[in-house]
C-alpha cells in the first residue's frame, strides 16, 4: 500500500499577507503611516470578506454567477441608515455600550431584510437560469438595477450620510500611528464572521455538505441530499452577509448611495477569483490582499490605485491559475 501523507496546510497563500505588508514598509518609509495604512487595509479587507464569503459559496455550490450580489450590500446599508437614524439617542451617546446596542439591531435588521430579498431573488431570478451562465449574468445584473431603482423609490436617489456612533469615532494613538476605532470594529466583526463560517463549515454536518457540494454536487445528491435546498440556504445566508457587509461598508465610508453595491462588486469578484472560486479561506486571503493593496497603492501612487488590484489578481493568477486555494474537482 502506498504511503499517504497527512493533510499539509498550504501556508504559502497565507504568507502573502505579511509579505505584502512587509514589502510596503520600506516604500512607505514611516512606520506609523505604515501601521495606519495596514490597519485600514485589514479593516477594508475584512469588510470585503464578509460580503464575498457568501458569493464564493454560491458560485462554488451551484456554479451560479450572481452579478447582482451588490444590491444586498446597498440594501443592508440603507436599512441600517434607517434603523440607526431612528436610534439617535443611542448613536449620539458617548457610551460605547449604548452605541453597540444600536449598531447590533441595525446589523440584524439589515441581514434579515437582505436575506429575505435574497430568498426572493433566488426564487424568481436565479432558479430559472440554472446552468446558463450568460443568462445568469444578464438577469442578475438586471436584478441589481431593479433593486437599485427600488432603493431610490424608498430612500431617494441622493447620497445619505451614515455617521458613525459617537463612541466609534476618532482614533486611538499607538505611538505615532493613529488607528481609527471603527477600523478595529470592522476587523473584530470580520473575525467573528470568519470564525462562525469556519466553525459551521468545519464542524457541522451542514458545513460538510456545503464543502462536499462545492467539490461534486452530483455525488452529494447521489448520497441522498437535496442540494438545491442547501443552495437556497447558502444563497440566503450569503445575501444576509452581504447586507451585513453593506452596513460595515456604509459606516466605513460614512455615507450610503444606491449604486454603492455596484461599486464594490468589482472588488468582490477580484477577491473570489484570487481566493479560488468556492473557497472561503481563499476569499479571506484575497480580501485582505485587496484591502492592503488598495490602501498602500492609494498612498504611494494614487493614480494607479484603481489598477493595482487588477494587477494583483493577474499576478496571483499567473502563480496559481485557479486561485490561491483552488477547490478540488472544480
Amino acid at each position: 500500500m502506498s504511503e499517504v501523507k497527512h493533510r499539509d496546510f498550504d501556508w504559502k497563500p497565507l504568507a502573502l499577507v505579511p509579505v505584502l505588508s512587509l514589502l510596503a514598509l520600506p516604500l512607505i518609509g514611516s512606520g506609523s503611516t505604515w501601521l495606519t495604512l495596514t490597519v485600514a487595509g485589514l479593516a477594508m479587507g475584512m469588510i470585503i470578506f464578509i460580503i464575498a464569503s457568501g458569493l464564493t459559496l454560491v458560485f462554488g455550490l451551484m456554479d451560479v454567477l450572481n452579478f447582482g450580489h451588490g444590491v444586498f450590500i446597498a440594501l443592508g446599508a440603507f436599512v441600517a441608515s434607517s434603523v440607526l437614524g431612528s436610534m439617535g439617542d443611542w448613536t449620539g451617546s458617548q457610551s460605547l455600550l449604548r452605541n453597540v446596542m444600536a449598531v447590533i439591531p441595525a446589523m440584524l435588521v439589515a441581514m434579515l431584510v437582505a436575506g429575505a430579498v435574497g430568498l426572493a431573488f433566488e426564487r424568481f431570478l436565479v432558479r430559472p437560469v440554472y446552468g446558463q451562465h450568460l443568462k445568469q449574468i444578464l438577469i442578475t445584473m438586471g436584478g441589481m438595477i431593479i433593486g437599485e431603482e427600488l432603493i431610490k423609490v424608498i430612500w431617494g436617489a441622493q447620497q445619505i450620510p451614515l455617521p458613525l456612533p459617537e463612541g466609534m469615532r476618532g482614533s486611538l494613538l499607538l505611538g505615532d500611528a493613529a488607528i481609527e476605532k471603527f477600523r478595529l470594529v470592522a476587523v473584530v466583526v470580520g473575525l467573528i464572521v470568519f470564525a462562525s463560517l469556519a466553525w459551521t463549515l468545519g464542524r457541522t454536518k451542514i458545513g460538510l455538505l456545503i464543502r462536499a457540494g462545492v467539490q461534486d454536487r452530483e455525488m452529494v445528491e447521489s448520497l441522498g441530499y437535496r442540494i438545491r435546498r442547501l443552495f437556497i440556504g447558502v444563497f440566503v445566508v450569503g445575501s444576509a452577509l452581504a447586507g451585513l457587509g453593506g452596513v460595515m461598508w456604509g459606516m466605513y465610508q460614512q455615507n450610503v448611495f444606491p449604486q454603492m453595491g455596484a461599486q464594490v462588486n468589482v472588488l468582490i469578484f477580484i477577491v473570489i477569483i484570487i481566493g479560488g472560486l468556492g473557497s472561503t479561506g481563499g476569499a479571506l486571503i484575497g480580501a485582505l490582499l485587496v484591502g492592503l493593496m488598495a490602501n498602500y497603492a492609494g498612498f504611494l501612487a494614487p493614480k494607479v490605485a484603481l489598477f493595482s488590484n487588477i494587477a494583483l489578481m493577474a499576478a496571483i493568477l499567473l502563480w496559481r491559475p485557479q486561485g490561491v486555494y483552488p477547490v478540488t474537482g472544480r
Binding site: 500500500m1 502506498s2 499517504v4 501523507k5 497527512h6 493533510r7 454536518k205 460538510l208 455538505l209 464543502r211 462536499a212 467539490q215 461534486d216 452530483e218 455525488m219 452529494v220 445528491e221 447521489s222 448520497l223 441522498g224 441530499y225 437535496r226 442540494i227 477547490v327 478540488t328 474537482g329
Partner: protein, 242 residues
Amino acid sequence: MSNAALLTMAEVHTRIGAYHILHGVNLVVPRGELTMLLGRNGAGKTTTLRTIMGLWQASSGTITFAQQDITALSTPQIAGLNIAYVPETMGIFSDLTVKENMLLAARQAKRVEDIDDTRLKWIFKLFPAVEKFWSYPAGKLSGGQKQMLAVARAIVEPRELLIVDEPSKGLAPAIINNMIDAFAELKAGGVTILLVEQNINFARRLGDTVAVMDNGRVVHSGSMQALADDEALQHSLLGLAV
C-alpha cells in the same frame, strides 16, 4: 434466478442532448443476488446506472424499484430509497478526510460517533485502508484506496441495493482480489448488487446473473456461470478471444 426482482427496467430510453444513448433497455436485478452488467466500451452501461439513479432522466420506459415506479424521481429521492451508488469516477470528496467522507454517506448520523460502531468495525475489516487513513485527506489516497473508500462509503449504512460502476478499473491485481472478497462478503450478507464490469475474470468470480449490453440495449441475460462456461458466447457478445 428464482429470487423476485428488486429492480426492473422496462424499455428504457435515455437521450442526452442530441444523442440517443439507451434504446429500450430491459433489465432485471433479482433481490439478494449480484448482477453483472457487461459490455464493450460505449455499450451504455454507465448511462444505464446513471439513468437508474436519476442523474440522467429516462425519456421513456419504466424503472421499478421494490414495486415502486422511480422513473421520474429525483436523484436524492432515489438514493433515499436505500440505493447506494459508486460512480466510475468514485465520487470521492478529495478535500475532505476519509472520516468526513464516511460521515457524509451516513445520512442518519450527525457526528462520526453516531455511526453504528459494529458496522464500522465490519467495514474496517473489509477495507483496512479506511481505518488506517481515517483522518487523512481522501485526495491523498492511492487509486485502490479511493475505490475501497468509495465502496465503504456506500455501505456505511445498510442499503437494499448497491450499484457500482467498474470497481476494478485501473486497480492492481492484489487490490482487485481484496475488492472481490469484499463484494463476496457483502453478497453473503444478503445485499443486492448491480455491478458494471469490463473484467470478465472479476465478473465470473462474483456474478450470479449477467446482462450484456451492446448499442444501448441488453442483448443477453442469464446466469453468469453459463456465460463463463461458454467461450463462444463470450466471444460473440464481448469480443473476447476464444
